[in-house]
């Protein structure tokens, strides 16, 4: 998204994640206009430092469903970010929170759909 000319700010509790951001880039993350903040999404100070108050979109994609659901609601309700997306692995909860008006992406659901269609499209032994 940075490459498309958007302003991107990353928040991660692991400072090492910054190194990962720069893999495959020919310039530094900051040199390309990116921002990086060390902290967790439950820390108000970290969210503010990452610029949540001026964000047009907020993506909660940590490796914990619960964290994502909570910080997505914080972004939505407290900071009124216009677009908020949460990654939720648990399909049941992804569905319920979607019904509550949260924009959720469920990688598990996506993978199941892809796997299902791959199997459906595969030729059966008899047909072969």
């Amino acid at each position: 998204m940075l490459g498309e000319g958007h302003e991107v700010s990353c928040l991660d509790e692991d400072p090492e994640a910054h190194t990962r951001l720069e893999v495959g880039l020919d310039k530094g993350w900051e040199d390309l206009g990116g921002r990086f903040t060390v902290g967790t999404g439950l820390e108000t100070d970290a969210l503010l430092a990452a610029g949540i108050e001026s964000a047009d979109a907020f993506i909660a994609a940590t490796n914990g469903d619960n964290t994502n659901i909570v910080i997505a609601q914080i972004a939505q309700k407290r900071y009124e970010v216009p677009t908020v997306i949460a990654r939720i692995l648990d399909p049941l909860r992804a569905e319920w929170y979607r019904e509550q008006g949260m924009h959720t992406i469920c990688p598990t659901r996506v993978a199941i759909d892809m796997l299902e269609s791959a199997v459906r499209d595969a030729p059966s032994r008899e047909a072969a």
Partner: protein, 226 residues
Amino acid sequence: MYVIVVGAGKVGWNLARELLEKNHEVTVIESNRRRYLTVEQELEHNITYGDASELWVLERAGIERADLVIAVTGDDEDNMLICQVAREKYEVEQIIARVNNPRNKPHFDLLGVKPSVSATDLILRLLEHEVPEYGLVHLLDLQEEQLEIIEMLLGRDSRVTGRRVGDLSMPEGSLLISVLREGKGFVPSADTVLKEGDEVLAVLDPGREDDLKELFGPAVGGNGAG
């Protein structure tokens, strides 16, 4: 009343005990297998194994007919979301969530999770109110290090109120580490004089609780104060 308690730590376990004693129907949900097996020896069918963040685990525990859901795990996000779905999805009448990190309290409020209580605060008082002999609450077990941290609230007739810390004969293997007075904590010196209403924190070798209770007792509420 049917009560679901999430988390079988010290708080959850003791809450369940109390509620069972008062003839309520209780199911405790615990996600740590080892902890579950330990507590299951006492609570038997009143505890179930699973991650209460998952809706099917809550449903298996019968959340649809629960009158009260209490989330007292050590994880604030878990406590928040379990209570949120309990109220909003399963329309549970009453919820109580434990706040582990007081800084997360505004998040509980934002998500509409009320009441939320800080473990060192309200649950302690509730327990003491409900259980007079409950003068001492475990805050932390450092199993690897073989140490425990406990908290005691000093009542009017505690044997140590009005006495200098330096004059207390603390049991061997125990140490007074902090005093909470009027919402502020400080490390006591030998000259600190203990007062009624002080909450004292002590670190101790496991098994020393009774000695400390003896020294600091009687527990709050023990003589009708509760």
